[in-house]
């Protein structure tokens, strides 16, 4: 009896300590990003003013933008499929628990971690050199991004496969290919579909950067409207993106449900075999068609390609000869980006914990609230962080605070969406077993679902942290703090040696965070 009391008391103290620690960190970060309530409060009228100008979407412009949307969707679909397909085999090579060779796995994952840190602007510079501007550069750029995201997701999932599952297959004498074939792949193929939809969504949103490689699409006109301060047109485009992503969401839900149903539909083994055979044929054909489509948009000659490769090589070889003369600038900028990203992740995370409870339909107090919040969250997610940053910039002025607030909002949106889906996928039994003890709905969330899914939540949050760091490098463009300004200016000036150095700094930071988050999620 005593020891139980002790345990409860200790547990309470531990929890309060963690909590106080988190608060202390938040206060520290608040100072670092120059968070200021008074400023925020004073800025509200001017922020609202700008927001109001966005409330008048220009419907006739939407018709004009529709062509661009189709172009964007085309590029996004092709590049997402290609990215996921290429990522699959690589993920088998680098996942810790099934990798055939430890060294290859370590080297490859190092290389890919580094590549993931490269901002899209730099991909653009290199790709335009090699392939000229146009759809193809866009497809290649997004395929690379899709590949890197999909790879990370696949890898994490494979590493999450329980050791005993693998061992049980090994124990019946399976060699490593058989383990792959009968234990890992069945998991992955289902997963591929949902990863495809995640990547597709990211890529459509990433369309805002497509304009930079001259690939057209909705990103280009969005950037133009922003630069002409046409907020009416801008909000039209955001609305269009909102509906597009909504449709993809619904489609994703539908397809995944269909797949689950289909898995049990085979009535006889013959049917099943036929289906397998069919699969063997139609998947390669689909792949070939996609590659053909991608390359058909490429219209350059062999000589031009060689010329471009040479120029791309020049850029890269100059980046390798790093020029550390901007060291102090780098440290200052990187720290600011880091603080912005961590602040945004923690604040977004806290909000997401509360909002997810209200949003997930199995925990939400009422269906109406759930649906309403789902809408709000999707809108939050669709606002490109740079636009939100401009709104905050108008309210609170230059400095890291605008960037930190913008990313906090974006993170809240994305995390709430992801975490509420995790909650929705949980079985009813956890909740039910707690409610039978007479607990309220909130208590069943607090003491049942939350502890159960908290590790997943932390993993999602850490994943956001990494992408927040990448996003915070972009915010510098408008003066909202971080390393972005320096990076973009050096790219514009083609100071590749300095760009190389800045990239190295950013990569080291991201890789350290990556390692830390691996440690935390293992813990």
């Amino acid at each position: 009896m005593n020891s139980l009391k002790n345990y409860i008391a200790k547990n309470k103290i531990h929890k309060s300590l963690y909590f106080l620690g988190a608060i202390a960190i938040l206060i520290f970060l608040g100072f670092k990003v120059e968070f200021d309530f008074v400023k925020l409060h004073k800025g509200i009228p001017s922020m609202l003013n700008l927001f109001q100008r966005m409330l008048k979407p220009n419907i006739s412009y939407g018709v004009e933008a529709f062509d661009k949307l189709i172009e964007t969707i085309q590029i996004a679909i092709v590049s997402s499929i290609l990215g996921v397909l290429v990522a699959l085999p690589f993920s088998l090579l680098i996942a810790d628990n099934i990798a055939p060779n430890r060294y290859i796995s370590a080297i490859l994952s190092g290389v890919f971690s580094f590549l993931r840190t490269i901002p899209s602007l730099i991909w653009a510079a290199i790709l335009v050199s090699i392939f000229s501007v146009g759809k193809f550069s866009g497809i290649v750029a997004l395929t690379i991004i899709a590949f890197l995201i999909a790879l990370k997701l696949f890898r994490e999932y494979i590493e999450g496969i329980k050791e005993n599952q693998l061992n049980s297959i090994k124990s019946v004498g399976a060699n490593s290919t058989q383990v792959l074939r009968y234990c890992v792949l069945p998991h992955i193929l289902e997963l591929s579909i949902s990863i495809f939809f995640i990547v597709l969504e990211t890529n459509i949103r990433g369309a805002t950067i497509l304009g930079l490689v001259g690939a057209g699409g909705i990103g280009q006109i969005m950037w133009r409207d922003l630069n002409h301060l046409r907020y009416d047109n801008l909000s039209t485009l955001i609305l269009i993106l909102f509906f597009t992503i909504l449709i993809i969401d619904v489609l994703s839900l539908f397809v995944r449900k269909y797949l689950i149903k289909k898995a049990v539909r085979f009535k006889s083994i013959d049917n099943y075999k036929k289906f397998q055979l069919f699969k063997i044929f139609y998947i390669p054909i689909l792949v070939i068609i996609l590659f053909l489509f991608a390359f058909s948009s490429l219209n350059i000659t062999y000589d031009r390609f060689i010329l471009g490769l040479g120029q791309g090589k020049d850029v890269i070889s100059r980046m390798i000869r790093i020029d550390p003369s901007c060291f102090s600038k780098l440290i200052e900028g990187i720290l600011e980006s880091f603080f912005i990203a961590v602040f945004a992740t923690i604040v977004g995370g806290l909000f997401a914990l509360v909002l997810s409870y209200l949003t997930a339909y199995n925990t939400s107090p009422s269906k109406g609230v759930s649906i309403f919040l789902k809408g709000v969250i999707n809108i939050l997610r669709t606002f490109p962080p740079i636009v939100t940053a401009i709104i905050f910039f108008r309210g609170v002025g230059p400095g890291p605070m605008a960037g930190a607030m913008a990313l906090s909002i974006y993170t809240t949106g994305v995390l709430t969406k992801m975490y509420s889906e995790v909650l929705e996928n949980e079985g009813k039994n956890i909740q039910a077993s707690i409610t039978t003890t007479g607990a309220t709905n909130l208590q069943s969330y607090r003491h049942g679902l939350l502890p159960h899914t908290f590790p997943t939540f932390i993993r999602l949050a850490l994943y956001r942290l990494e992408s927040n760091i990448r996003n915070s490098t972009i915010l510098g463009v408008i003066g909202a703090g971080g390393i972005g300004t320096t990076l973009v200016m050096n790219i514009m000036w083609r100071n590749w040696e300095k760009v190389g150095f800045l990239l190295l700094g950013i990569s080291i930071m991201i890789i350290i965070i990556d390692k830390l988050s691996q440690m935390v999620s293992n813990y």
Binding site: S46, K56, N227, R304, A402, A480
Partner: protein, 290 residues
């Protein structure tokens, strides 16, 4: 439930500690959006803000941005007091919040204006603007004054319908426009004068392989713009302070080497009418639909 409320209170309290400790001190905030066509990379505005603080007797805080939208919005809400912004950004700021231009910077040749050029390869058959019809043109990007707005309007004035008579791409940078031309991806590229010189390290063959087909109208240089509701007194003070800095030996040297500015000249709104007419030619509506 009680505990949850207590926790919430602690959080709010904690954040307000951060929020309310900021000292109220009068500072002037300056934004700097370098022109992409300038000759020097402006990484830090600190030397300039230090001199300004000394001249004005008030602390000046500066920041740089590569895109002007934030600064224009900051000027509109009063969060930014004045800024060095490109001419097109000034027109937008003026339209939105009556921001006012007080000075413009002079370039190496002592002028308050510059222009952009149409480049073609020497071996091409384009010798006049009418030859551009049916060819492929590289603009810089749709927000660029010297890489899209002025060259586009120039073509329209030459009787070319840019949507129908030519095929165009946005290169995403003056350097990339030049690169596309050299690589043969396009037949004409528009850049500032002279991108070939700025990027000679990357494209050493640019000078001998390309030639200038023509120039656009003159574009006003970077503007020093103050927010719309600034008191006359402060406005004059900033103006005088900048002019004074440019007069001193130390100041002018610094402006030259770090910011590529060879002095300042008083500017009025009318100097920027050329931007407005050009935007009109290009069918860019500066006003939002009501």
């Amino acid at each position: 439930m009680k505990r949850a409320i207590a926790l919430l209170l602690i959080v709010v309290l904690a954040i307000s500690i951060v929020g309310c400790t900021s000292k109220e001190e009068e500072v002037i905030k300056m934004g700097f959006v370098p022109m992409k066509d300038g000759d020097s990379l402006i990484e830090s505005v600190e030397p300039l803000t230090e001199m300004l603080s000394k001249e004005l007797g008030v602390k000046v805080e500066g920041f740089t941005a590569t895109n002007y939208v934030g600064v224009v919005e900051g000027l509109g809400s009063g969060q930014v007091d004045f800024g060095f912004i490109p001419p097109f950004a000034y027109v937008l700021a003026n339209e939105e919040s009556n921001a006012e231009v007080i000075l413009t910077a002079l370039n190496k040749s002592g002028e308050a204006k510059y222009r952009s050029q149409f480049l073609v390869r020497k071996d091409s058959d384009i010798t006049s603007f009418s030859d551009i019809k049916g060819k492929k043109v590289a603009f810089v990007d749709p927000s660029s004054t010297s890489g899209y707005l002025f060259p586009g309007a120039h073509l329209i004035n030459e009787g070319i319908d840019i949507e129908k008579d030519i095929e165009y791409v946005y290169a995403g940078g003056h350097d990339k426009a030049l690169q596309l031309l050299l690589n043969g991806d396009v037949d004409v590229a528009t850049t500032f004068v002279d991108a070939r010189d700025r990027y000679k390290e990357d494209f050493p063959e640019a000078m001998e392989k390309t030639e200038v087909l023509g120039y656009t109208d003159y574009i006003p240089n970077i503007s020093v713009t103050v927010k719309g509701d600034m008191e006359e007194e402060l406005k004059d003070k900033i103006k005088v302070a900048l002019l004074n800095i440019a007069k001193t030996e130390e100041g002018s040297e610094l402006l030259k080497t770090l910011f590529n500015m060879y002095g300042f000249e008083e500017a009025t709104d009318a100097d920027y009418d050329i931007i407005r007419t050009t935007a009109k030619t290009m069918n860019i509506d500066l006003k939002e639909a009501e």
